[in-house]
């Protein structure tokens, strides 16, 4: 028994199109993570590139295992480091800051120090091998 089907104008309903698209849009909005990589930039010296530098132009910055900082022989609070370094840079613009961290010190303290030096606009930062 064959039934006859009447075909009445085939059209896709477009009125709900916007809603469907909105749903998809919201899904992608929620799942998108625009995770930009950000951090403190640093350029390491090339291997074997060791220069003799006048002692006057070196400012030693030592970090101990508890996160205390010794800048040129004086203990300095980490949060005041930027100000102190900025002053020293005004006095001597050829100053190279040599950061030396104790091998048992935390990476967090090291990053804090580098961040402070960057805030003081110190461009010449040297990373000494920690002993």
């Amino acid at each position: 028994m064959a039934r006859k089907r009447r075909f009445k104008g085939g059209e896709i309903p477009t009125s709900s199109m916007a809603d469907i698209a909105f749903l998809l849009l919201i899904f992608f909005l929620v799942t998108t993570t625009i995770d930009m990589d950000k951090g403190l930039g640093m350029v390491l010296p090339a291997e074997g590139e060791e220069l003799e530098i006048n002692k006057k132009n070196i400012l030693n910055c030592l970090i101990n295992s508890t996160g205390n900082v010794l800048l040129g022989g004086e203990a300095v609070e980490v949060r005041n480091l930027a100000r102190t370094v900025r002053q020293k840079l005004v006095e001597n613009d050829k100053l190279i800051i040599s950061v030396k961290a104790h091998s048992a010190s935390n990476y967090m303290d090291y990053v804090k120090v580098i961040d402070q030096l960057k805030q003081a606009n110190a461009t010449r930062i040297s990373i000494a091998e920690s002993g």
Binding site: T14, M17, T31, T32
Partner: protein
């Protein structure tokens, strides 16, 4: 003199092009969505203020360092010495390589220092200490 203003504005937002606009947005988000390929090690990044953004993802390679002292590159664990070979190959393949060091804030400087040395030996000199933005 009175001016008779009877300009009736048709105040309806045209909705006919709405799906097109939304589809455009949709396609934008679909294209920008990155489903993470690998997640690295569980770490909590240190915080810093003077942060720079890394320009391109294509030239970036991550080194994960956990607080236990594990070093991972692209989901494989390495010793500090092993970093050199991997990074050297990457450096040869891409001279513009920037290494993003994703180290836990409690990682020890001894290991970080070893990685510095290895990166110098591998000639991968552009380094970025990955960190979160600090809010005062």
């Amino acid at each position: 003199m009175k001016v008779n203003r009877k300009t009736q504005l048709d105040s309806e937002i045209p909705t006919a092009s709405m799906p097109d606009i939304i589809f455009m947005l949709l396609i934008f988000f679909m294209v920008t969505t990155v489903l993470r390929e690998y997640s690295g090690l569980p770490i909590s990044l240190p915080k810093a203020k003077r942060i720079e953004k890394l320009k391109s993802k294509r030239h970036t390679s991550h080194i994960w360092v956990s607080k236990e002292g594990l070093v991972s590159i692209e989901d494989k664990l390495y010793s500090a010495e092993g970093v050199r070979h991997v990074m050297y190959e990457k450096r040869v393949a891409d001279p513009q390589l920037v290494v993003s060091l994703k180290a836990d804030e409690r990682a020890k400087m001894e290991l970080i220092s070893d990685i510095h040395t290895e990166l110098r030996k591998a000639d991968a000199l552009k380094l970025n200490y990955s960190s979160k933005t600090q809010v005062d």
